[in-house]
Assembly symmetry: C2
Homo-oligomer: 326 residues x 2
């Protein structure tokens, strides 16, 4: 009881980044939480934290993205998968990336009831992250949060996000394996979702498979995937996540995809693309800052004014901006 | 009958950009369509087209964005608004920005049945645009397509897009007025949508107001908007777009918002921000290209490889990339 007494729990966290990272590597939840907060808030320590996390060894965690329209049962499915991976003895991390409201300043938590089952399991790390619109979102904080969970020894990290359009593409670029969830009875949701999902899905899960229309969704997906020519055709798994049905089938599909990734060399390729994207976006962000520092915002404002007034086009304006930057 | 004979309709389009723009300014649909295709396909003429469009005069078209989850009735509502603005004698443009499937290469058209009513009205220009994932999307083609419709004399341009998360933010940054559509019975769609929509909505429309639960959605929105402190509190309008009910109320709300924008100076401010964003993103795209040209992709590949292997963090890698760029 001593180690979990209120006094012990309130031990001050180290302020040194290297010490925090060392504690995270021991799997201490408070250090993990603190590090994720640091990267999420764009702390001035972000860079130091990242360097410390990258110093030791390559990433080992397997990153699984879960995406789908609102209402398909993403959180319930994530909970089901956490349970399934725990049964296999694996340490699991969950990042739930939610749209954030600048109005409340916080992440909107969906139905996390099922997640609470794992709240006391020391081998499960669950974190909701706010996605902060334009410049933030998944792009900069999530890779570092993944590194924190990896450092904490998570063998599997599930990244859950509301997926329509751009978010799906973003999550696919972060994950080794992307699961697209669908459910029957979503209005024209399935149809509207169709366009983006073939691009990103490694595995399809049709949840709420006990409901009318589930088989129609499966058939529709089968027709779509039948046209895919390539080394990997996304399997279609049915689940009733609220009752835990189909968990093993999903895990089997995920394992099959991982085997494919490893044997084909695609795993390394995806991770290199991910690193490229990350480096490039950091460099571009630095360049933007350099723009702003060199000229203040006034030059850009003046150019924008002239474009709005008519007579100057934005391409010529961009040239002028860059010429001024030397 | 002579001017609409097949032979006359097949008159070759001019190949000169200036001539095409001149024809678009006369409201000729084929020239308008051709110019939008040029900008959408990222034609080498993109820059020339944009310069020609910007040469003459400031933009006059009022840009109204419509966004909402799949199934709320966006296309039907857009059709209803087209009709309402036509009744007022205004020339209307519609840009429907749809998620695109790289699989089929084309834009997914939703229910455009109601739009067909306007297919022969020479005062209505309707165009579906594909949003091409990451680098494309709304960002570069849409502002130029708006300029084409503006040149063609459209007083109102409706931009319709599937809105969840990022797309909502994008459309809000393009539009003078953003309409967020909701409907009852969307599962937890409304709740999930909540986070992003307060940020972007200038007007809320609760469509399918004849269905159970519509009043609950209105109440929920009323509670949310009640907390907004600022010069503009988004009104909440109910419609049954499939029967054209509520069209006048939406137009009245849009007009009230336009008046607010003009009187507060916010209209000019929004348009300057829009121009700033556009100039900046063109400049950053040019910088990215410069990166690639200077070093090929090999340097970045090598850095990515080292990040994946462990020991190099992405911030240091970005520094190395930029140092190499001089």
């Amino acid at each position: 009881m001593e180690t979990s007494s209120p006094a012990a729990r309130r031990d001050p966290l180290p302020t040194e980044v290297s010490e925090l990272v060392a504690q995270a590597r021991q799997g201490r939840p408070r250090a993990v939480a603190r590090l994720i907060s640091l990267v999420e808030n764009g702390s001035p320590l972000l860079r130091e934290v990242t360097a410390e996390l990258c110093a030791a060894r390559p990433s080992r965690a397997r990153v699984i993205g879960l995406t789908g329209s609102p209402g398909v049962g993403k959180s319930t499915s994530t909970g089901m998968l956490v349970q399934a991976f725990r049964k296999l003895g694996r340490r699991v991390g969950v990042l739930a990336v939610d749209p954030s409201s600048p109005f409340t300043g916080g992440a909107l938590l969906g139905d996390r009831v099922r997640m609470q089952d794992h709240a006391t399991d020391p081998e499960v790390f669950i974190r909701s992250m706010a996605s902060r619109g334009h410049l933030g979102g998944l792009s900069w904080a999530t890779p570092q949060a993944l590194r924190v969970l990896d450092a904490a020894g998570c063998e599997v990290v599930l990244v859950e996000t509301v997926g329509v359009g751009q978010a799906e593409v973003d999550i696919a670029s972060l994950a080794d394996t992307t699961v697209v969830l669908l459910a029957p009875g979503m209005g024209d949701g399935v149809q509207a979702a169709k366009a983006g999902i073939l691009e990103v899905a490694d595995v399809f899960v049709v949840n709420k498979a006990d409901r009318d229309g589930a088989q129609a969704v499966v058939r529709e997906l089968r027709n779509m995937t039948a046209q895919i020519e390539g080394p990997w055709r996304p399997p279609i798994v049915t689940t009733v996540a609220s009752r835990g049905e189909g968990a093993e089938d999903v895990v089997a599909a995920l394992d099959a995809h991982l085997t494919y990734l490893e044997e084909s060399g695609e795993l390394g390729r995806r991770r290199r693309v991910r690193a490229r994207d990350e480096i490039e976006s950091i460099a571009v962000a630095a360049l933007r800052t350099r723009f702003a520092h060199l000229h203040g915002d006034r030059r850009l404002d003046a150019l924008a004014e002239r474009v709005v007034a008519g007579g100057l086009d934005p391409y010529t304006a961009a040239d002028e901006l860059m010429d001024a930057a030397g």
